[in-house]
């Protein structure tokens, strides 16, 4: 995550002059975390829907596994309160 903010800092330096503010970096972190979550959930979700289509009993299991990557973004959300 540190590298990403470094790159972002370099990229934004030209127009803004100073590096990204602390809040900005935290927002970036949350955003990137959300992207990761979305990617993971899309693939798990597809598999879960497939399983549920064949067997209704898979619904709860499928839901749990689809929601698991949610932890990623929840933990990323903590950064907001740390800055």
């Amino acid at each position: 995550m540190l590298e990403t903010t470094d790159i972002a800092a370099v990229a934004l330096q030209e127009s803004g002059g100073s590096a990204v503010s602390k809040e900005g970096a935290a927002a970036l972190a949350v955003g990137l975390g959300a992207l990761g979550t979305g990617y993971a959930q899309s693939r798990i979700g597809a598999a879960a829907v497939g399983a549920v289509a064949e067997d209704d009993e898979m619904f709860v299991t499928g839901l749990i596994f689809t929601a698991l990557p949610e932890t990623l973004i929840i933990i990323a959300f903590v950064t907001i309160f740390l800055v």
Partner: protein
């Protein structure tokens, strides 16, 4: 016949559905029950399972063992068409290519039907309507009056040229083996074409490996059959390209000597998987049991691949094989009961994993 579909494959969705369906196939207990049932009981059992819809739909037109068989075929076609509706991207291409197997099957059914002068309606009911051929092409091939007509009907397809080439052999010897092998060869040749060069250890490479194994097993089976029948046929003529176990010349050498063949297979990469099959062959000297063991080995191999590469075409292929196996098992049971075979003999015909 290169159809490259754009976009990415939805392996997650398809493999999840396929695995769930594979789980629902008959297991050993079901077979044990089925083998001991009478004809009526088998039909009733089938109505309560997966095949119920088809049994009811066809119940007015057919009865007894025929009903079971047609219901099995129709159900098979339904499931494999489902696979094609789900799959996207390159996965669709792989599955569609593999399902050309049923085009090959249909071509062989038509040829056999025409050869035995069966009525077109009878041939049509035996076709499995999945795969690449259109309904119309199938119907017209079934209505053909002679083998020549059939090959003419099929000339625009991948089977056209190989069938033409095999006609000479067929005419001089009046056996169907050359034609049937031409069909198989055309199917496998195009399967490997499509795969092209692959990165080692990628899902595509494993799929290629699986196809190679299938070709090797088929070559092996053909060689043994020719050796056993004692017919004066050159096994190399029936060699299917693409395997890695034998080349054409080697096949000719080993086909005359069964012991050498067995040794050869034992030393190869399939040694471990085929050890049971080879023992059967040596001990019982029974070709049928060897062939069944060979099929079981292929099934196991495909399951192994599908576990090693969960997000690839392997689970789908494994499902196709297992479903096909189930259909053949149930048919063997139904036909066996009809003919009044003893339970043990029918069980020998079954392939279970």
């Amino acid at each position: 016949m290169k159809v490259r579909t754009e976009g990415s494959s939805n392996y997650e969705y398809v493999t999840a559905r396929v695995r769930s369906r594979k789980k629902k196939l008959f297991d050993e207990d079901d077979y044990r029950k089925l083998v001991r049932m009478g004809q009526g009981e088998i039909a009733r059992f089938m109505e309560e399972t997966e095949y119920g819809t088809e049994m009811n739909a066809l119940g007015t037109r057919h009865s007894g063992v025929d009903l079971v068989e047609y219901a099995l075929n129709r159900n098979l076609a339904k499931h494999f068409d489902d696979l094609l509706t789900w799959a996207e991207g390159p996965l669709y291409d792989y599955v569609a290519n593999y399902l050309r197997k049923f085009d090959a099957w249909n071509v062989k059914t038509v040829i056999r039907g025409v050869y035995t002068d069966a009525a077109p309606e009878d041939i049509e009911t035996d076709l499995i309507r999945t795969g690449e051929f259109s309904e119309r092409r199938l119907d017209r091939a079934a209505e053909a009056g002679s083998i020549e007509d059939v090959t003419e009907q099929l000339s625009p397809t991948i089977f056209g040229d190989p069938l033409d080439a095999a006609m000479g052999d067929f005419e001089s010897e009046d056996v169907l083996v050359p034609l049937e092998n031409a069909v198989d060869r055309a199917y496998y040749a195009h399967l490997l074409d499509e795969l092209g060069r692959t990165v080692p250890n990628s899902p595509e490479a494993l799929y290629g490996e699986f196809l190679e194994a299938e070709i090797d097993f088929r070559n092996l089976r053909n060689a043994l059959r020719i050796a056993r029948s004692g017919a004066d046929i050159d096994p190399a003529d029936y060699y299917i390209e693409g395997g890695q176990l034998f080349d054409r010349e080697e096949l000719r050498e080993v086909a005359t000597n069964v012991d050498e063949l067995v040794e050869r297979v034992r030393a190869s990469t399939y040694g471990a998987e085929l050890s049971r099959a080879l023992e059967e062959l040596e001990a019982a000297d029974s070709l049928i049991r060897f062939e069944r063991a060979l099929e079981a080995a292929l099934l196991e191999y495909s399951s192994k691949l599908s576990n090693r590469y969960p997000l690839s075409v392997c689970p789908v292929i494994s499902y196709i094989l297992a479903k096909e196996r189930e259909v053949r098992n149930v048919r063997a049971i139904a036909r066996g009961r009809e003919a009044g075979l003893p339970v043990e003999e029918i069980e020998e015909e079954l392939v279970m994993t």
